[in-house]
Symmetry: C2
Subunit: 328 residues, 2 copies
């Protein structure tokens, strides 16, 4: 059961975990940059065009066929809608895709759509607007106060996020970035939950919750594992309603009034290694699903209080290897 | 020969390299945060006050005495002047310090002092000013053009750095941050050189040069090793004039008119692992020096074209360990 990890970037740890469970099968990676370290820790790799280049999907399908890939998945958000839309083409050549349904992917990609979905389904979420008028009204009535946050509807890694401290800043941001998402400041603990929704049964079978202790470029670089029955139930209910499949990553807050969803990345989250080092094993659950078996739910079996801290490791490759990808 | 690494932060790789050469001796780390991952990869660790807290130096001297530390060094810039000023106190208790002379440390800490020193000693360097008047004059005469850069004289990690594109931006930056360093835009290849200046002989005995391929928070996260006799000679000459000792890190540019020094960190550089993975071994040279022996120069023996790429690894510690440092 060969595995293809698309747009693998710097996710070396995940490639290694996948190799651990793949046994004699190959773990193959792609990236559009030959300076992506995760290429070089895989069993085999391909440097491919950017996901937005013409013919990209054909290149990937060709690799799947040539390498007899049993399952593939991507690690970057812009590729998820593509995979969701082309799932049937992969299935025709015998490759499963770990991806959520197209509508779930589209919603997660657009934070405003996700917000509206949560409101419709009575899932507590962070108050958000794309029109500055109701924001001004709420501020005037005392129902809302500064600071506010503004972020692109489809952004990532905290790029182009602004903190808004006054009416004039609100005016400037709304003028300059029409349609930007405006969010209430959220006090409380920022949480991140890695979830595995079984691809056969559709049930949440594994989840790992952590409190984010410090952020760097939109991702926690220090976190502590959390065990909480209410949180587990909140996440399970949310996933049932939202229809995700496979490994996903949910950002939320624990507030005085309960939990509130901030956003979802329907792919392996950046700090999945924390979960893995605490005994969870999503790659194993995935390969089980690919072989046709469902997984039994195993929730809340890790230990609370494990602290994770990231640091920089390096991949170094000799001059010869730098020129020798499997194909272009 | 126990080793103490001060303010170890996220430098887990360096701690591991040091453990490799230390054999049965202990490698001990300190940090002011108990969330510094390098604490937990050492043989023993201490969570200590911040370097600017009263009594900090006494805490460190006490650890050196208690742990029979043969050599200590720091990984953060604000601690270097402290170590340089207190070197004799360490020597009194039998601990060597890997540190450059106080005047060399002070110069490296203040980019404007370093610039003036280079100009005085005819060492090519990036054109810099702290007074905006000569900058305006040079712009008016066509001797200088936008963009310019402004950065704090004693900053690090590219924090509070500005690119200046126009006279009005120059005016605003100079008004708001009086005394800020203004630098010419430097075209050409950005290089970074790890150097080991023997603490016994005062000679440059090892160096590793790399071209920076991509930057993240002031440090190269992708780089390629470079072999260049002219560069070696330039760095050796510079180090002789500047009087550094031990492991240092030099940022420079290769321009059409030759090399130009940008700045120096007189400590292990953040991407030293690149050098180490290519066969250099500064920790071994350091322990040799501590035992009283000098090292033979061994320059230009690594391979050019090795590419280094960083990725995030994690340290995770169980709940019990998080509460048990050796001392506070």
């Amino acid at each position: 059961m060969n595995v293809l990890i698309l747009s693998a970037g710097t996710r070396c740890k995940l490639v290694e975990y996948m190799k651990d469970v793949a046994g004699d099968s190959l773990v193959i990676t792609t990236d559009c940059s030959d300076l992506a370290p995760a290429l070089y820790v895989a069993d085999r790799y391909y440097v491919v065009p950017r996901v937005d280049a013409p013919g990209y999907m054909e290149t990937i399908l060709d690799i799947c066929q040539r390498e007899q890939v049993a399952v593939c998945f991507s690690l970057i958000d812009p590729e998820l809608p593509l995979l969701a839309a082309n799932q049937h083409r992969f299935e025709e050549i015998g490759t499963k895709v770990m991806i959520s349904p197209p509508e779930a992917v589209a919603r997660a990609f657009d934070k405003w759509q996700m917000h509206k979905f949560c409101v419709q389904h009575a899932i507590p979420t962070v108050r958000s607007w794309i029109d500055p008028e109701p924001v001004r009204a709420a501020l005037a009535s005392g129902d809302l106060s500064f600071p506010l946050y503004a972020k692109p509807r489809t952004g990532s890694a905290s790029k182009d996020n602004f903190q808004i401290e006054s009416l004039s800043e609100l005016h400037n941001v709304a003028e300059r970035y029409p349609g930007i998402l405006i969010q209430e400041f959220q006090s409380g603990e920022p949480l991140d939950v890695d979830v595995y929704v079984d691809m056969v049964s559709g049930e949440v079978v594994s989840l790992f919750a952590k409190e984010k202790l410090r952020m760097r470029e939109g991702t926690a670089d220090k976190a502590i594992s959390v065990l909480d029955k209410d949180l587990e139930q909140f996440v399970i209910t949310f996933c049932e309603v939202a229809g995700f499949r496979g490994a996903i990553d949910i950002d939320l807050f624990r507030t005085e009034r309960g939990f509130a969803v901030l956003e979802v990345n329907p792919r392996f989250g950046g700090v999945y290694p924390h979960a893995h080092e605490c005994g969870l094993n999503f790659p194993k659950l995935l390969l089980n699903n690919v072989s046709g078996a469902s997984n039994r739910a195993d929730i809340g079996t890790y230990e609370a209080g494990w602290i994770m801290m990231t640091y920089e490791d390096i991949v170094s490759i000799p001059p010869a290897d730098a020129l020798g990808p499997e194909a272009a």
